[in-house]
Amino acid sequence: MSATTWDATRFSKRLRASYSPRLLLSELLLKQWFEPVIPFTIMLGLFGYFAVSIHDYATFPNIQSLMRLYAEFGFVALGMAFSLISGGIDLSVGALFAVCNFATLFFLLVLGWPIAGVIAATVAVGAVLGGINGVLIGYLKARPFLTTLVTLIILRASVNLLNERYATVFATNTSDSTVWDFLGEGFVLGIPVNAAALFVTLLIGHVFLSRSRYGWHLTAIGASRKAARHAGIPVERMLFATYVLSGVLCAIGGIFYAARQSSTDSTTGVGWEFQALTAVVLGGVSLAGGKGTVWRAMIGGIIVFLLTNGLVRLGIAGYFTSAVIGIILLAAVCADVKWSKNRGKAVQKIYVNPARLPLSPAPSLRRESGTPFAQNDRLLAAEAIGLDQVEGPEDVLIDRQDRVYGSTRDGNIIRFSGPDLTRREVFAHIGGRPLGMQWDREENLIVAVAGMGVYGIRPDGQVFKVTDETNRTWYKLNDDSRLRMADDLDIGPDGRIWFSDCTTRYEMTTNSLDIIEGRPNGRLVVYDPATRKTTTVINHFHFPNGICVAHDGMSVLIGSTSLCQVFRYWIEGPNKGRLDLLIEHLPGFVDNINRASDGTYWLALVGIRTPAFDLAMRKPDFRLRMVKQVPIDEWLAPGLNHGCVLKFDETGRILESFWDPTGVNHSTLTSMREHRGYLYLGGLENNRIGRIRLPDADPDWTGYDAYWGNKRRDRH
């Protein structure tokens, strides 16, 4: 191994090469669960701060009392969260809460109802008052902001009037019910009863919102009311139900508050609507609707509560606390708007993370260089098959009846037959981007399809799926179980299908970015028909492309496009499981590898390493800025407008080369297949399949026979 490059056969090296802090951040930002991380950290930080600065703060009794103080506000915040997720807002939550608090005391102390009746009646009051909001907003299509503002004013005025009248009654009467005392001061498993109830409510709310049909409908309405209506969701009824739910949650909060305080005054629930709004937005429930979870609402709620409570205990004046909450609301709203608008862009901006990739020295291509790579014009004489009738036959395959198949960019397998190969037919339409192909023992055509996985086509043209996912890598943030870009495949003597999934971070349309990034994002995967299981064999590999099972069936040859090297992976024998470097120095970017009739191999070079591109590969920052500042079409690329086929033997020695130096007939040549004395040529972007005569080749040799028939070399 030369000093300028590094050992890609070692897993630890490859793993390290695939790591970068920016890349980690970009993948984290793509995760839904990462969004509340910042509020969550703030919450823990606040608690830590007060634990340090307030005596006896982090003790169990204090935490119990904090929970008891918080729970009612939690219900109110939850009501606010549901209304926000539905795309509206419920400003009346604080007033509703106060009304329900009053109602509870009224039913209990003035009317003297039993506890169960009091609870049921109060919940009914909350539901009816919320229902008024719901009717106005859902059915009459009033603006949620104004509507609930009006209800806020009316309810607040009413509760003040009622308070004046009944305050003395409440103050002189008490209930001696133990159930009532339990609601006010009891514990469940050491947790205050109201906090326990809140927790249960949260669990139910979470399942409701994230797992139930109604929760999804609610979120859909919040994301786009019009689209939800078009999708057949009963928008009016759902909105009505949302405000009823908000009212009920406030009622539950009111009941617990009444049980705890047994009094009412004009400050009950004042300003709670704004605290709840601050809390919920701070937690990451979007003001724009359609985004949020109950947990985020709670995180925000706890932050606001800890802050209010802590500042008071630190002896800071109440108006100052209000100002702080106001500023936090402002900041949270700004962050919410900016974040939801720009998150995708932010991820996009840091998703591509080029790495330094010094390539090993390249042998010369110059005609006068005397290397086996020296350019010649041997492919200029190629005969064209299906000129302008195929779009980008990445791979070509020939069956035993001499019919030629090409995998094209329109998702088809095109077949040419007849004496002059002029009869064109669509053998099968798969979709995706079919790439590498091979025959299995039953003469099914097995094809790697970028964007889909590995598929098979029966001789009658019927398409079936072989596999589309592999095992997920446990330590990767990106779910890599789906096959992103199956590129080339080959089949071992035991029927196992070995294929390359060349990138797990990009798609067919953006795979040039993977080359620009120069990181080991690909993998070698195997499908075992016996167990129907798909397993990743080599992870973190630099753009694995060409795959060929060696003539003896003991190893798989893997072409790495971005490393410009060929590797051998042992699948049988004493070295089983070992990865070796087979060809270290290549002047171009490796594509497909296939068997040759004389026991050697064919290799296509899709691109030539130009000095400028090699230099760029050593300069990751240059490439990063290029990707950001220069339009895609203007990015520096390897030399792609040429065709090159190499031949190499089992030891990795290059024997000869076939060139179309300026790509007159065959530019971006990606594959070649030998068949009965001809070499057939395919190209990723070409408008034809080509073939040249191989005078010294075995005129009876076919690919099928080399794998499954009398031309096999793995038996003798």
Partner: protein
Amino acid sequence: MGAFTHILRDLEQIFFPNRDQHPVPSMDGPFTPNSRLDTLEVIGDPLPGADDVAEGADGALYVSAGRQVWRLDGAGYARREVVATFDGDAGALAIHPDGGLLVGVASQGVVKIDRDGHRHWLREAAGTPVACVTAIAASPDGSILLCEGSARHAPDAWLRDLMEKNRAGRLLRCGPSLEQPAVLRQGLAWPDGLMTDGTTCWLAEAWTHRVTAFAADGRRSSAPRVILPNLPGYPARLAPASGGGFWLAMFAARTHLTEFVLREDDFRNEMMRTMEPHLWVGPALATTGDCYEPMQWGGLKALGIEKPWSPPRSYGLLARFDADGTPAESLHSRVGGRHHGITSVREAAQGLIVVSRGAGRILIDRTRARA
């Protein structure tokens, strides 16, 4: 660092909205691409290294190519002969009002060949050698204006001068026999186009992609006025057009990648240090098909088609402007075209003469004979 540059750029755009951004302009309007340069008639066999053209008083054309100056005359300029040979490459040409032939010779200086064959040389000005004459214009009063592309490089090292971001060009004026040279302006960005009518002088600067005009009577120049601020190509020779405007040859098109590499000091310096110039990322006079030439993704041949609109390594571009600098029309040879690297243009008696240095061809448009 990247983020910091971005912030600086954004701040600059906020605080100085009128500051010249100098982005690559898109080719539209009068610059809409066509293939008119490819369809022009070719005069005779190739003249490898053909660079500049001038029309003599007798109607013959003088063309500099390699170390020689050729004289083309007769119908369709079919007859050609070598009239002068030098020790360096002959570049800029002009005909003096007295009939003498002015030739810029790489690494040698400027020579005026009188009608009687007598040669006057100018080899240095203000104590520095005049080694890189890129354009010559003779005033009707007999005084001679000279552009020196760079004090650091010979004319054929223009790409290195661009990549070093030099501003080392000079504008000189001297007497009718190249005597008493005076430096009118210096610190120019590869000036290589010059035109004068005796009172006003037009000057093209390649690396700043602009054409300026200034009064040039006497031994000083007035403050330059920018006529063309931001061209889509690298300007070369200027020539008067009938009807009052002027022709401007552009020897290559600007690309985003080149502009980007010009901002990337680390990459550019290593490129210059380790690679042969013809493999650098940058403009070229011709696309050679060398497999080691840098390529851009847009240049990928798709379905056997070389896209004419792909980012050009070399390009043919010639444009005509009104006297006030409004573009009137343009002639192109796009990617895959034949006539790239247009270095000179001249309206002559038999038609519009265009020199494609990339192809080593002299082209003629007979429909545009000098009015």
